[in-house]
Symmetry: none
Subunit: 286 residues, 2 copies
DNA sequence: TATTCGAATGTAATAAAATGACATAAAATA
DNA sequence: TATTTTATGTCATTTTATTACATTCGAATA
């Protein structure tokens, strides 16, 4: 397992001084791997043997060995959740941190997904008479994106980010309708109510949300992204990217399920876009 | 660059003894990173300082530093391979393929970005009187997402996915306006026209698009994502995710530039959302 | 509240590892 | 072949990590 995540996970199993070490490392892992044990001890304000003991506690042979493990955690491409942006990061630093934490997040999401549920969701979607995507706030752009994709399948699909429209759409629903609700926390009141309403009107409700949330309880099928909280920054970031990729997965599953003949349809849609382009066309939705 | 590849590439530039070291490392890099300099010297049948010199030749500070680099290059043999989905992939297979290729794509995007340009873009954005985000089709949800983020900064910001509205908005523009245009290909005619129009009206045009595209030519500043084409599947997928992450980067840069005092504002926005939630609140945009 | 035990932490000595300075050997050039 | 340059090794020094041991802290018990 990723050393850095391991440290974060075990934070509370450490003793007082060991936690100081852990924190010093988490603040700046880069510094840690380039420091000597004496240096790190000074930064963490503990003694050198404490640092050493800390390393051993994490199942390494000693400080140098620990540094190797840590270095591997930090290696490019190795997902790594913990790298938060600091006040004094330059463009170089915050750019890579954000890309990296997004990748880490996707990796976590990938590992946490239940492919059986995905399969069932694809089942349900392929059999739907009509599909609706609802999200509020940041999640509304995810819903919007889903609309854009499913629209190409030439089936009735809609997307509202207005609560009133969402309600109306639910009330007019019938069996065979599938409603996909998107919410990171699953605690957005209006959306939970929509889920109830939709089910009362015989629609099938798929939720892209957190496990054990109120929204999850009101849904027929929950696709949860075990994505760590977006820390520190007061905006949804990575979590929403994971949702989008999940939409991609569903779309792909949908396409595959419908088979080759269906793919011709996609080609046609894409060809139809061509006219609005300057020569050398390729695959963008518009 | 990957240290291991670097060693392979430079094999013939090394001296006789240094090559011995290189070969010993290539035979078993794992052994190398877990050896002391004395040990490795023995394996390579050279003296300790020779190993040290070898390390320095590879632009490292010394043997320990070299080991860190080597460990990192071992950590990610080949980060994420861009595997395409096949007709007969099951849910398990296509799910991981899509997640992995998205991660690969983000990694490519990260490496291809010019952080100086990002910095300049952040500069421009922080000094803007008004910011508009325009995208069409799939890119419109990216624009939408950008709106959602920048909206929290409490500055005038708008977003249209309707060409007519976009034009009108440009015509009413003035100096100090910044228009962010989003298009993967940069060949969407209406958007290129918008860029021209915006510039005629003294707005500053930032494009999130492909290098050397018509849209890029019409823009003041181009942030290009050197992202491989979305192959095989007839939809924009990874490319658009990369755009979103880039928006995250810009947002972060913006926040950092505005400093700590500004972050309080974000806290307030987040607190304001709280009421519409069921207990246990955390960070989702609504 | 004082006492005792055990865990946690630090100090100082020791061992290990890496590096630097210098000498020697090998190779290249005149 | 002599001379210079470069490469390599030996040994001393310095830096770094580890071990053994002493002290402190804090919880549990009398």
């Amino acid at each position: 397992m990723n050393t850095l995540e391991l440290i974060k996970k075990n934070l509370d199993t450490f003793s007082k001084s060991e936690r100081k070490v852990a924190e010093a490392i988490l603040v700046s892992p880069e510094t840690a791997i380039h420091s000597s044990i004496a240096n790190l001890a000074k930064i963490a304000e503990v003694s050198e043997p404490t640092v050493n003991r800390f390393c051993r506690r994490l199942d390494t042979k000693g400080f140098p060995d620990f540094k190797l493990h840590l270095a591997q955690s930090l290696a490019n491409g190795t997902p790594y959740v913990n790298r938060n942006v600091n006040e004094d990061d330059g463009p170089e630093a915050y750019t890579s941190k954000i890309f990296e934490s997004t990748m880490a997040c996707l990796n976590a999401a990938k590992n946490g997904l239940d492919t059986n549920l995905i399969n069932r969701a694809v089942d349900v979607l392929t059999q739907a008479n009509k599909i609706s995507f609802f999200g509020l706030g940041a999640s509304s752009s995810v819903a919007h994106d889903a609309l854009n994709k499913f629209f190409r399948f030439n089936i009735p699909v809609s997307c509202f980010d207005d609560i009133v429209m969402q309600r109306m759409s639910c009330i007019n629903g019938s069996e065979g309708d599938v409603i996909v609700l998107i919410s990171h926390t699953g605690r957005t009141k209006p959306l939970v109510e929509i889920a109830e309403l939709a089910r009362e009107n015989d629609a099938f409700v798929i939720a892209l949300t957190a496990e054990d949330s109120p929204l999850a309880e009101q849904s027929n099928l929950v696709l949860s992204l075990g994505v760590p909280e977006d820390t520190d920054i007061y905006m949804p970031m990575s979590s929403r990217i994971a949702q989008l990729v999940l939409i991609d997965v569903l779309t792909t599953g949908f396409t595959l399920r419908r088979g080759a003949k269906f793919r011709d349809n996609l080609k046609r849609v894409k060809a139809g876009i061509k006219d609005s382009r300057f020569e050398k066309t390729n695959d963008e939705a518009f």
